[in-house]
Amino acid sequence: MGVTQPRTKQSPWKKIREIQNRFPLSTLFLVIIALWVILAILSPYFFTYHNMFNLARQTAVTAILSVGMTFVIISGGIDLSVGSIVGVSSVLVSLLMVNGWPISLAILVTLLISCLLGLITGVAIYDAKVPPFIATLGMMSAARGVALMLSQGRTITNIPRPFTQFAQSTVLGVPSLFIVSVVVAIVGIFILNRTQFGRNVYAIGSSKEVARLSGINMRLNTYGIYVLSAALSSLAGILMTSRLASGIPTSGQGDEMDAIASVVIGGASLAGAEGSILGTMIGALIMATLRNGFNLLGIDPFWMRIAIGILIVLAVFVDQFRKND
């Protein structure tokens, strides 16, 4: 049998692993803190109130989209239509207001119509058994078409001031847009972790057959997931309209990729059943920080795209590494 050496020493790597496994978001926190420290050193302007204010506003819209996307991706799906629904909502809410509808009613109708679009996607996925990628790709194109048609391709201006003022407003010095995104995230965390619907989303993501055999109503839950994503996209579109003070049919183009990137950087798996809203929020914040930092440092914005591309792949690589070992 020979000598057995005592196994008391624990390598520091293993300890790090253990901490990472217990708090999977710890790496992300470190990344964002490191980014902030570096930027603070490189640019004295970074930690000023004005820049932080900007950063918060920039994060808000993507963050709201990403909360919906988190639900979709955890359920094992994908939603490519979120950017187009931002566009439709932007056009719709502006047109209604320009035509004299009260602001609240315009917002409500816009949200409802977007939910209807989400429901159509849900029907295509559950009832017609079209894979989510294709169903939402179709909606992405169709919804963008609707936005362009309604606006005849033109930007809608002359939007009532009280509506546009919301995006400029602050509460205790914090931009209202950011507060809305935080509220959305908190409600999202509650739904995901504390409700039946939230657990069903995880169960569906882990296996549709298991979920069905456990009596989960697949129809209602599938509809719910895509309606929720559409509703949040619509909210993001409405806020964006307020921020830009105009209804732009092409707004939100490419936002689906930002949302997916935030969710994936935040630790979710496209295979489903994994991910968290807190992770997604940090993911969104990292992306916004990079954008902001590159601007501040005056680096060619094309570099930023490259950096974000590398970041997405790197984030997933680190995550795989953690899981496999």
Partner: protein, 499 residues
């Protein structure tokens, strides 16, 4: 050197340490040429680790002894090396490319080539030769996904033979096979043995060991226990060596008063897999369903549970006719299904034990869709205690639990919703002897609470051991129902092959 040459494989004093666990502690294993050698042990005994070391998936510890193949010391540092040395393994979940043809699978990675492109004609011809060796009569052009499980198993073996394997490792090959197909597999194993191939055979079904193996090596908790000719062993002895204590009552059964009828199925049809099925189940009764794989037994219970929708027929629960068009409806009416594939159908593997236990009952404990997390945790803890689920805690992800414990989690889901009729579809496949007995005990406990159980199995001894009645299904039809006293293996097999 010479003496060793009667052995195809010698693994001497093998140690393997994983962080925190000694998986193998000085284990020795000797496989003679042309021998079928059973490797036995409970889950976690070290069988798979030993095989994975032989196959180059894991590396043995440095302080281990040697591995000799045909008397030569070898260092197997990768699965590719193992294959080159003539070692080949067919694992429980057959790893074939389902969308490729039989021939393509057999020669995957070593297709015969002519001028740099695949020589299809030669490949099909060669494939036919290899298929003949395993007496499998299928078209080498057929896609693997269209084959039955046993045919797929044979293709996997043929693939090993095409690689000129001298040593074949079969890891639980019969888990997915019916009785008849198992017999067929055994026949082929004997043929391979005659042609000089040595086989390492892993199975949880002890009857098979006596049927087909020459020698058995038993491991327990990573330690070598004994190697003996099978003819000198009894089932009880093997179990004692595997478990470390004797299990006097492997098939646990208590006398329970059989009460009123709780389920009646009338003329249930789902073309073409279920034909005119009628039967009933009483409180405290355990009704076995025996049938070959593909006989329609699983489809029958899936219709009762609403997982598939029947074309016609009636279902009555406690005398009331009910319509069960979805699992959801079945749950409302108190019918539960522990499905045959716990990994693919029973468990949300990435989720925690607590989440899985409450997956169904959550809707009863929650208010307005908001979960009562405290209550759920209490329920999960109760499940862990009552079913003796071995887990570090209720927040453990179920994918990390062993097969037996996973199965207990699936059962827990149904205990928490108080289902009246519980359908167990092959609940003991791939779990070790100790855990099997515990499952039978759980069934006995449920019967005492007045529930009725339908128990599907391909393994006759367990059906004969625990059931009150056994119903036989063949080609979608119920071919007979035998009471506990009159049922024998022969009668049931005759009914199952519909003679």
């Amino acid at each position: 050197m010479k003496r060793d040459n009667e052995y195809a494989v010698v693994m001497e004093n093998i140690n393997k340490t994983f962080p925190g666990v000694k998986a193998l502690d000085s284990v020795t294993f000797r496989l003679k040429k042309g021998e079928i050698h059973a490797l036995l042990g409970e889950n976690g005994a070290g069988k798979s680790t030993l095989i994975k070391i032989l196959m180059g998936v894991y590396q043995k510890d440095r302080d281990s002894g040697k591995i000799l193949l045909d008397g030569q010391e070898v260092h197997i540092n990768s699965p590719i090396k193992a294959e080159q040395l003539g070692l080949s393994a067919v694992y429980q979940n057959i790893m074939l490319a389902r969308h490729l043809s039989v021939a393509e699978n057999i020669f995957l990675g070593q297709q015969p080539k002519k001028n740099g492109v695949i020589d299809w004609k030669k490949m099909y011809e060669d494939a036919e030769k290899v298929l003949e060796e395993v007496s499998l009569d299928v078209d080498p052009r057929a896609l693997v996904k269209h084959l039955t499980p046993v045919q797929q198993e044979m293709v996997a073996i043929a693939k090993a033979l095409a690689r000129r394997a001298k040593v074949l490792i079969l890891d639980e090959p019969t888990a997915q096979l019916s009785e008849e197909e198992t017999v067929q597999l055994h026949k082929i194993m004997r043929g391979l043995k005659k042609s000089g191939i040595s086989i390492i055979y892993i199975s949880h079904r002890l009857d098979e060991i006596f049927e087909v193996c020459d020698v058995a090596t038993i491991l327990r908790d990573g330690q070598y226990i004994d190697t003996k000719p099978v003819s000198e062993l009894t089932e009880a002895e093997i179990i004692r060596m595997m478990v470390g204590r004797s299990i006097d009552d492997l098939y646990y059964k208590e006398e329970v008063k059989i009460g009123k009828e709780i389920l009646r199925v009338k003329n249930l049809n789902r073309y073409p897999v279920v034909k005119n099925a009628s039967f009933s189940l009483r409180e405290g009764e355990i009704l076995g369903i025996f049938g070959l794989v593909g006989s329609g037994r699983t489809e029958l219970v899936r219709c009762i549970f609403g997982a598939d929708v029947p074309d016609s027929g009636e279902i009555e629960i406690e005398g009331r006719p009910v319509r069960v068009l979805s699992p959801n409806a079945a749950i409302e009416h108190g019918i539960g299904l522990i499905p045959e594939d716990r990994q693919q159908q029973g468990l949300a593997l990435p989720l925690t034990l607590a989440d899985n236990c409450n997956l169904i009952s959550g809707r009863d404990t929650s208010k307005l869709g908001i979960r009562r997390v405290r209550e759920e945790q209490e329920i999960a803890r109760k499940n862990v205690n009552e079913l003796r689920i071995r887990t570090p805690g209720i927040s453990q992800r179920v994918k990390f639990l062993s097969g037996g414990n996973q199965q207990k989690v699936v059962i827990s889901k149904w205990l928490n919703v108080d289902a009246k009729v519980l359908i167990f579809d092959e609940p003991t496949v791939g779990i070790d002897v100790g855990a099997k007995t515990e499952i039978y005990k759980i069934m006995a406990e449920l019967l005492k609470q007045g529930k009725g159980i339908i128990f599907i199995s391909s393994y006759l001894p367990e059906l004969l051991g625990v059931c009150d009645r056994i119903m036989v299904v063949a080609e979608g039809k119920i071919t007979g129902t035998l009471g506990r006293e009159e049922a024998t293996q022969e009668k049931l097999l005759a009914l199952a092959s519909n003679l």
